[in-house]
Amino acid sequence: MLKKVPVQKAVGTRLAHDITEIRPGEFKGAAFKKGHTVCDDDICRLQKLGKNHLYLVDLEEDEIHENQAAKILANGLAGVGIDWQDDPKEGKITLHAAIDGIISINIASLAAFNMIDEVMCATQHNHSLVKKGDLVAATRAIPLVMKRAPIERAAMIAATGEGTIAVKPVKNIKAGLIITGSEVYNGLIKDGFAPLLSKKIEDFGSQILSVEYAPDDTKLIKQAIIRCLDSGCELILLTGGMSVDPDDVTRAGIRQAGAIEMHYGTAVLPGAMFLVAYINDIPLLGVPACGLHHKITVLDLVLPRIMAGEHIGKKELAFFGHGGLCMDCKECTYPHCPFGKGV
């Protein structure tokens, strides 16, 4: 229960919550912390902050303070790879990455959590790459004092399964590159893919185990894939031969190498002719020609998730559609743009 008292009569009482001060463009934070004992000298400053009354808190048995609530909520929300401190600022607790990795948000649980009255949690986008210590999410209870039961229910919803907010580590893996195309294989044109894809892989701390070149020949592409698998590649990237020409036989090569699950086509531009296949749980990614011409493509959306151990199937590729349209900006600001953020 909250009791409203004039500031002049609040001397000697303890503040029920942080009192925020905002100096535009200069400062936003707690001018007074919760628990501070109000003294005569504080009256003038409190009035300058627009506080003519303060709340005295007298909690009923079934009520809790916003700081207690924030702790319960954070505890429910935080899954693996998340660090947080029981040190609410203005009633809010922030959740941070405990490791380098990609953010994994259970969007359904997050929505269900936020449907509960008087609680909130805001997060970064799902699948965003983060470094240890980066801010991932923040939560708070909205009122100063509230009933305990809905707070605990919200925390239970958030804690369902593996928790609502997690950071998955991006594993260091060994990858193989297979550059297909008779024009490259025969030296008619210079390959641009190998250095470009190698850098993308190595930027994640992973290594390129082998780079193979194959002409537009189904059998030879199949053999190159099998050699990669035999050498211990945990991921295989194939370029070229993903389009609709009669010489585009990479898909057939992947199929003949033993791919059971194969998804050709994604709801992403650039990257419509991208391919994901699996042979014995080893992912094979078919990178179409757009990978040469665009700095960022569907590959950049899929790669971190593959390296974090996610299985990318038909559903995941389809869900890229919302937000999967690159605006081809003159100056690319990815990942600080909407591309790929709709899932």
Binding site: I116, I157, T160
Partner: protein, 225 residues
């Protein structure tokens, strides 16, 4: 208790179709029975321990009745016509009661839990299987003051309507001018303008060798006086 899938399939068969209400009703009943500590509510030793108040005459109500085994005629099923997707499960032995309310937010959240299912009903059906109880339901511990004449068992009291002579059971009469009156004789009945009729073949009794139900069905003239 049987598995969720078995209960849903059988509830759907008895109700007539599989729908989101069957999933809600089955899960509501499973949770209700769990909370009041009855694992086999249809078994002989538990069937008399349970009363369920159902607050909606919707699909889910049939699933609740099926899973719990409560029945109108046993007086273990009570219908409170509130229009709320809720049911209260009472353990008569321990006198513990929980009211389980199906949340409105679960409907709004269905697209998040089953984003790959098209169509509102199919999406809700799948989503309600995936949502945790904490999302599907809110639960209140409640006190239900059951009157003796609402309990299962023999009729507690019979009175005769002072206006029409109808026998009224279990305190359902209305007292007007110190006299018991049946509900139809008040202005508070669900029907009006009642008048008695006669009909052809009024002498019919079961196992009639000449006229069975089907031969009479299209051959019964109603006589209004």
């Amino acid at each position: 208790m049987e598995s969720f899938d078995t209960l849903v399939n059988e509830a759907a068969r008895i109700h007539g179709h599989l729908c989101p209400g069957q999933v809600i009703g089955v899960r509501m009943s499973m949770l209700g029975c769990r909370l009041i500590g009855l694992d086999e509510p249809k078994c002989h030793d538990q069937i008399k321990k349970l009363i369920v108040y159902i607050e909606m005459d919707r699909c889910a109500g049939d699933a609740v009745a099926y899973v719990t085994g409560v029945k109108l005629g046993r007086r273990s099923l009570k219908f409170a016509d509130y229009g709320i997707m809720a049911a209260t499960f009472i353990n008569l032995e321990t006198n513990i009661a929980f009211r389980i309310v199906s949340t409105e937010e679960a409907r709004a959240l269905a697209p998040f839990y089953a984003p790959d299912i098209a169509g509102k009903s199919a999406q809700q059906l799948e989503a309600y299987k995936l949502m945790p109880d904490s999302v599907l339901f809110r639960v209140q511990e409640v006190i239900v003051k059951l009157k003796d004449h609402d309990m299962p068992g023999p009729t507690r009291k019979k009175v005769t309507c002072a206006r029409c002579g109808q026998v009224v059971r279990d305190h359902r009469e209305v007292i007007i001018d110190n006299n018991p009156v049946c509900r139809p004789c008040t202005d508070d009945a669900y029907f009006s303008d009642a008048r008695e009729i006669t009909w052809e073949h009024m002498d019919w009794v079961p196992n009639n060798k000449v006229n069975n139900f089907n031969t009479l069905l299209n051959n019964t003239t109603i006589k209004r006086s």
